[in-house]
Structure formats: structure tokens, C-alpha cells
Amino acid sequence: MTVSHEPLMRIVKRGESPFKLKLLVRLAAVLLALIVDALFIYFVTGLDPLAVYTTMFQGTFSTPMRFSWAMRDLASLLLIGIALAPAFKMRFWNIGAEGQVLMGALATAAVMVFYGGKVPNAILYAAMLVAAVFAGALWGFIPGWFKARLGTNETLFTLMMNYVAIQLVACCVNIWRGQASGLGKLNMKTKAGWFPQLFGQRYNINLMITVLLVVLMYCYLRYSKQGYEIAVVGESENTARYAGINVGKVIIRTMILSGALCGLTGFLIVGGRDQTISTTTAGGNGFTAIIVAWLAKFNTFYMALISFLLIFLEKGAGEIASAYNLNDFASDIIAGIILFFILGSEFFINYKPIFRTGRHETINKEVA
């Protein structure tokens, strides 16, 4: 008969972890990530790890301009995350942010194309905003209504709505560009509908609105009656009905809100950042934002931190690739290792491993 031992390692759930422990685990994770990354950099790419880390850091921090660009990209990602938070908190799998953002962007662009220079700027901005919010809300309302009334699967529904939005944008871009090879910036001469510059950049308006929405959405989900309804519906529809909540109404209302905020993001991207539109205006942020929202458990302040981490790694990877003439994959691996360790550390905040101590062997000997 084989002798069985105490397991080499077993996993035990921790109680409530103190703040100090959480901080320690996370710092350890970053340190470990840098060490493993250093091994990868040294042995696989043959570069100096410290130099590579410096370059990576420079991707975001080398110049004020770089930092400003990072913030610009962070704003787009974070805004979509904020828009998705109420839907996901309701356990409504809104995979359609990409499409909802594009619809908002398309509506904004359409107003710029048709009314740019023909109406005063203030009215133009208002029209762009209203059109974008309405278009995004519509793209959220449709799957919400079908889910509430007919019980359709929202994951597939919202996903497919993305493709409809992409094709609509492609179609409009083709019409608007006419004989030109590309669409280029809209209203290039009149700059009608372009956001005014604030501290030297048009997209600084986007940043300010993002900060405002971080706070507003946090309060909405945490303190408002509607936020409470969203939480109850997300946990159990049965409980919601028992409490007298009209589940269908909450689903539709929340999806209109989620879609409208995505539409708003589209408006800000076109008016404040790109001044043009293409099928890649949302740039995959509609999907990355799902990760942002879930990792932060819908806390918008955590979402800001996670968005920053993702943008920092993305910029860093890009910088490494160009500075050392590295293959994109290698730089992505370097960034990926860091992300892996930071996310993996969450496990050790909730669980702790216990290693074999030899305690059982001694007890057995005593018995014998």
C-alpha cells in the first residue's frame, strides 16, 4: 500500500483581509512581475531589463505630451467602462458597447456633416450631443426591450448589434468621402463642431467630463434608489419581483442609460478627439471596457485605476517595440506578464496557500 502524505500545498480561504496585507500582496506581485519579466527580457531578447523598464515608463511619462495622450486614451476607455457598469451590475451582458459608441459617433458626425457651418456653434454642439445620446440609447434600448419582453439572450443580441453599427458607419463614410480616398477630418475649414481648446487641447474637455462621470456614476449606483433596484435585479429577479420592482422596466431603463452613456462617449471621441469617424473609432475599447468594469466590480474609482494600468502597459509596450526595434509580440509579452501578476495577486488576497509542515508524520510516529 502506498503511503499517503499530507498534501504538499492546500488553499484556504482568508477571512476579511486587513488593508496592510492587501497592499503587501499587491506590492509583492509587482516585484515578482518585474523579476520574471527581467528574466524574460534578459534571456529571450538579450536586452538590459532596467533599460527596458525605463523605456516602458517613458511610454507614458517621458514628456507632458505623452502623459496627455495617455490621459486622452484613458478617458475613452474609462467612459465606456462607466457606461457599462450599470448594465453589468444588473447582470445584463452588454457586449454591445462598441456598437453603441459607434452609433453615438455616427450621429455626431452626421450632425457635423449636415449642419456644420449652417447653425451657430452652440446649437450645433447641443444637436450633436442630443443626437449621439439618442442614437446610443436606441442601440441599448433595442436589446433591453427584447430581453425584458421576450426573454431573448442579450449577449448574442448586443454582440450582433455591433456589426450592424459597424456596417452603418462604413456605409456613411463611403457616402461622405465621395471621390476622396479617405474621409479626413470633418469640417476641416470651418472647424464647426470641433471642441474648443482647453489648456491647449480639445480632448481636455473629454477628461473633465470623465472625471465628473466617475463621481456621478459612483453615487448613482451606490446611493440612488435606481442603483438599488439595479443591484436587486442583478442578484435575483425573483427577489426583485417579491420586492415589487418592475423588472422589465428596470432592464429597459438601465440599458437606455448604458447605451446613452456609450453614445455620449462617441460624441466626445468625434468632437473632442478625432474630429472624424471610421469603423475603428471605438477601437476595441468597447470590449476592453468590459474587463475594466468587471475587475473593478463596478466601482468607478477602481475602474479609473485599472484603466490607467491598461493604458500604461499599452503605451509602454508600444514604446519598447519602437525603441528597441522589437517584435510587437515580445513587447506585448513583457506588458502581459506584468498584467498577469497584478491580476493573479487578487487570488492571494482572498486565499492563502498552506504548505506541508510535516506535522502529520510526527503525529503518526508518536502513535506508532
Binding site: 499517503s4 502524505h5 499530507e6 498534501p7 492546500r10 484556504v12 480561504k13 482568508r14 477571512g15 476579511e16 446611493y223 440612488s224 434608489k225 435606481q226 442603483g227 438599488y228 433596484e229 443591484a231 436587486v232 442578484e235 435575483s236 425573483n238 427577489t239 419581483r241 417579491y242 420586492a243 415589487g244 420592482i245 418592475n246 506535522r359 502529520h360 503525529i363 503518526n364 502513535v367
Partner: protein, 515 residues
């Protein structure tokens, strides 16, 4: 004496909570051992360590006299230990035989014919009734449980652990299970059964081991035990096992249910022309085999069902006031509330319907009252005060009033739910299986709370499964059978046999002359 399993000085902690502290107990070969203890006394944790779900912090386990390490359920199987959990570990879309195949070792061949033959042999030996080709989702709870046991026996289990197997069974199904358990004992198998029902402990087991607050309180021969001696060991002090029944004071009509018919999604009548009255200051018991319309009856009154058109549920406010009677059919829980009618409802599914598991006590307090006030922001100060007072008055054990209620033990969850429903100052209080899974102390707390409400003039509708309790607690008992009201008996005069008969056999005049 030969032992199937011996536990020595087992300790297990979760964070700062000590679930088991230095527990030593043993199970003889060929015996049925009851494991008794209040909620949170560490019974399930202890069993999970034998079954390989948890690993003890210290102590050792001996199987047939040899020390063993049980690191996983697989190790447990290898040592002939099988556990049937409260929540079954079955795959719904598989047939019974396919589920049995899941426990095959990786070296064994998947031969469904051979599996069925061997499973059938086990069924014949112990007298199990099961269709091996039936899909699990088509099975009743009792059939699923049978399948779990067969699965364990198929895997060669010599020691079976059953975690509250009777909580979900009817009296008849329980009898069947006990017969099978006795057959297994004859065959030399050892069984550990966890149950809260003392009469079952006395009926089925050879010995009773008792845990109290995570510690071992002793083992007694069942032949020398009584309900009150076991309770005393379990609680640590003498408990009065009599349920009070104050006489109704000045009862008047509160609810009239007439011709209530509810159909399910398939168009089957779950409730069929049920009519009865409920009075203030009385407890009306609802008896019946589970699934005979009890859930739908309470939900229909609460506004959560869509009864047929000719149904009627009329609510009468206090008769000394000049307010009008209200028809409740066609109203939602919200519109009933807006009429100023306080219907309180403690549903059967506590965490899936009555409470939000991931929320703390505070947020759960406001579940039915969060809309109050015109502000966009929800008021949390009153729910916080309510949570504090319920925690103090009912002795809810929780680290904080913001700890998710799903982390509380079953008894504490029920205290939170009942506390909230009573705090709403109801005029009608409906409870479904209010003491299911609760220990003796908490059960008596609940009975006491219900009696308090009764004396305040609340009309209480109590759906229960324990006939002894129904007869001791209720003023009148309505018996449901096949979705029909099969009679209303006086709780002071009725016998268990009389109610049991009404539960299982429709009266002839109810069958409308058929047969």
C-alpha cells in the same frame, strides 16, 4: 469493536472562526450514527473533512483502524467514503446512468450497459426504485437523492454520509429512505446522518453524536435517549419543548379567498378553486405534501401570481374603521402596498426571493420600503436603525450589519427575514416553511414571534411540513391536496392521522363525482 472511521482531535478554522475544535468521534461498522447539533455547530464542516472537501488544520482520521490522509473527494472514494450533500452534485441533462458513470476511475472503460447492470444490481439489493434512463432534470428531489446514494454505493462506499437528507422529503419518502438505510446497515455499511428532526434521530439511528458550538459534546446510545435529553445536550441547557397556543382574541374576517385557481406555464392547475377565510388574531395552518400548491397560494395572495379570472381574494381592514374591502386579484405587490395594506410574506426561498444574499442586513431591510420618500437618493438611516434593532432583539449573529447575509448561518438568515417582515407591522403575515433547516432554539424563537403577532391581531397563514408543530401551533389547519382545499380542521381537535389522510387522499365530493 471495529470502527469504520475514527476522528481524533480534529480542528478546523476559517479565518478567525473556529468551526471544529478538538473533535473526536467514531462510527462503528454496520451502524447508523446521527450527528446532531444546532446550526453553525460544525456538523457539515466536520463531514466535509471526511469527504475530502476540506482538510483539517490538525488532528487525524483513521479508516478501519489505519491513519489516512483525505486530500480530495477522490481520496475519500478510495477509502470507501461517500457523501450525499444537501445540494446534489448531479448533471441535469445527463441520465441517471450517465451520472453514475461520472464517478468512474479514468482507467475504467465507459461501458454504459455494464454500468447499468451493476447499478441495477445495487438497486435490487437495497430496494431502490429508480429509472436509470431518466434524465436528472425530470426527477423529483427524492429521486435525485436516491441517485446520489446509488452513485456512492456504485463507487464502493462503505461509509455513507447523508447531510440533512429528510429536509426535502415528504413523510412517505422519508419512510422509504429509512427502509433503504436499514437495508444498507444489514449489509454491513455504516451511515452518518445529519438531521434536525429529533423523532427521526430516535427512529433511525443506533447512536447519536452531538456537537455544540464546534465542540464534541458526547455520544449516546439512542435506546437511552429522549427528545428532551438530546436537546439538552445539544443546547447545553434545558429547553421547554411545548409550543404555546393562546386563544384568538376578538377575531374578525381579514381575508376571503374564493375559487382561487392558478395555472402554471404548461396550463396545469396548481391551485384549483381553493376557498377559505382567514381571521385576525389566529394562525391558519396550511398542510400538504410539498408541491401541492402551498407556494402558489401564498404568492397569489402576495400579488406574485396571475390567478384565473373567476378567482377572488378580498381583504377586509379592521371592521371598526369605515374603510372598504379591497380585491387583491390583479394587483402587484407594489400596488397592494400603495393601498396601505401590509401583507408580510416570508417565502420558502429565503436567499433567492426574500433577501438579497450579496447585500448586508441594512440593504435588505429596505427591500420593500426603499421607494419611500420623493428623493432620488435612497434613505439608509432608517434601515440601519432597523437592522441594529433586529440584530439586538432577535440575537442575529453577524460580524456586522453590512456583512452579506449569504454568509450568515441558516437560522440567522431566517431571523433577518422574519424580523423585517414583522417590523413592517403587518395585518396579514404569511410564512412558508418558516423553520425548515433551523435548530430547535431558533425554531422556538420563530414560534414565539408568530404567537406575539397573533396576539397583536395579525392574521397569520403558516405553511408547515411538520404535522406535530402544525397541530400544536395552529388554530385551524387547511389541508391542500392536488391543488384543492381538501378540508379545514380544528387544530385543537385534529389528529396527525386525520391530516395525513387528507394530505394524501382527495375527499369524494372534491373529485366532483368522478370515480
Amino acid at each position: 469493536m471495529e470502527y469504520a472511521i475514527e476522528l481524533r482531535h480534529i480542528t478546523k478554522t476559517f479565518g478567525s472562526v473556529i468551526a471544529n475544535n478538538d473533535v473526536s468521534l467514531d462510527v462503528r461498522k454496520g451502524e447508523i450514527l446521527s450527528l446532531l447539533g444546532e446550526n453553525g455547530s460544525g456538523k457539515t464542516t466536520l463531514m466535509n473533512m471526511i469527504a475530502g472537501i476540506y482538510y483539517p488544520d490538525s488532528g487525524e482520521i483513521l479508516v478501519e483502524g489505519k491513519p489516512v490522509e483525505i486530500r480530495s473527494p477522490k481520496d475519500a472514494y478510495a477509502h470507501g467514503i461517500g457523501m450525499v450533500h444537501q445540494h446534489f452534485k448531479l448533471i441535469d441533462v445527463f441520465t441517471a446512468a450517465e451520472n453514475i458513470a461520472l464517478v468512474l476511475d479514468k482507467h475504467e472503460k465507459y461501458d454504459i450497459k455494464a454500468i447499468k447492470a451493476k447499478a441495477r444490481e445495487i438497486c435490487d439489493r437495497y430496494n431502490f426504485e429508480i429509472d436509470l434512463d431518466q434524465k436528472v432534470y425530470e426527477m423529483s428531489v427524492s429521486q435525485k437523492q436516491t441517485l446520489e446514494i446509488i452513485k456512492m454505493l456504485y463507487h464502493g462506499a462503505q461509509l455513507l454520509i447523508l447531510d440533512e437528507p429528510t429536509a426535502v422529503l415528504t413523510p412517505q419518502e422519508t419512510e422509504k429512505l429509512f427502509a433503504v438505510m436499514r437495508n444498507m446497515r444489514e449489509d454491513g455499511k455504516s451511515i452518518i446522518i445529519i438531521t434536525h428532526k429529533l423523532h427521526e434521530v430516535l427512529a433511525i439511528s443506533d447512536r447519536v453524536a452531538i456537537l455544540r458550538k464546534g465542540e464534541y459534546a458526547g455520544t449516546v446510545e439512542t435506546a437511552h435517549a429522549t427528545e428532551s435529553s438530546l436537546t439538552e445536550m445539544m443546547v447545553g441547557k434545558k429547553v421547554e419543548l411545548n409550543i404555546e397556543r393562546p386563544d384568538p382574541v376578538n377575531p374578525h374576517l381579514r381575508l376571503t379567498v374564493h375559487n382561487l385557481t392558478v395555472q402554471n406555464a404548461e396550463g396545469v392547475k396548481i391551485l384549483d378553486h381553493v376557498s377559505f377565510d382567514a381571521f385576525s388574531g389566529e394562525i391558519l395552518g396550511i398542510a400538504g405534501i410539498s408541491g401541492n400548491g402551498q407556494k402558489e397560494l401564498l404568492e397569489a395572495i402576495a400579488g406574485l401570481q396571475n390567478p384565473d379570472k373567476d378567482s377572488s381574494i378580498v381583504y377586509y381592514p379592521d371592521d371598526d374603521r369605515d374603510s372598504t374591502a379591497e380585491q387583491l386579484i390583479g394587483k402587484t405587490p407594489k400596488s397592494i402596498r400603495e393601498l396601505g395594506i401590509h401583507l408580510s410574506f416570508v417565502p420558502e426561498d429565503r436567499l433567492g426571493m426574500g433577501l438579497v444574499g450579496s447585500m448586508g442586513m441594512v440593504d435588505n431591510m429596505m427591500l420593500k420600503s426603499y421607494t419611500e420618500g420623493s428623493s432620488f437618493i435612497a434613505d439608509r438611516s432608517r434601515p440601519r436603525h432597523l437592522a441594529e434593532s433586529i440584530k439586538d432583539e432577535l440575537g442575529v449573529v453577524t460580524p456586522s450589519i453590512n456583512t452579506p447575509v449569504s454568509r450568515l448561518s441558516g437560522g440567522n438568515v431566517q431571523k433577518v427575514l422574519v424580523g423585517r417582515e414583522i417590523a413592517a407591522a403587518p395585518s396579514v403575515l404569511m410564512t412558508a416553511y418558516a423553520v425548515r433547516g433551523l435548530d430547535i432554539n431558533t425554531s422556538y424563537t420563530i414560534y414565539h414571534l408568530l404567537n406575539e403577532q397573533k396576539q397583536k391581531g395579525v392574521s397569520i397563514i403558516y405553511v408547515g411540513e411538520d404535522l406535530d408543530v402544525l397541530i400544536d401551533l395552529c388554530d385551524r389547519i387547511l389541508v391542500l391536496c392536488g391543488g384543492k382545499c381538501n378540508g379545514i380542521v380544528d387544530g385543537r381537535k385534529a389528529t396527525k392521522e386525520e391530516i395525513g389522510l387528507l394530505m394524501t387522499r382527495l375527499k369524494e365530493d372534491q373529485e366532483g363525482g368522478v370515480a
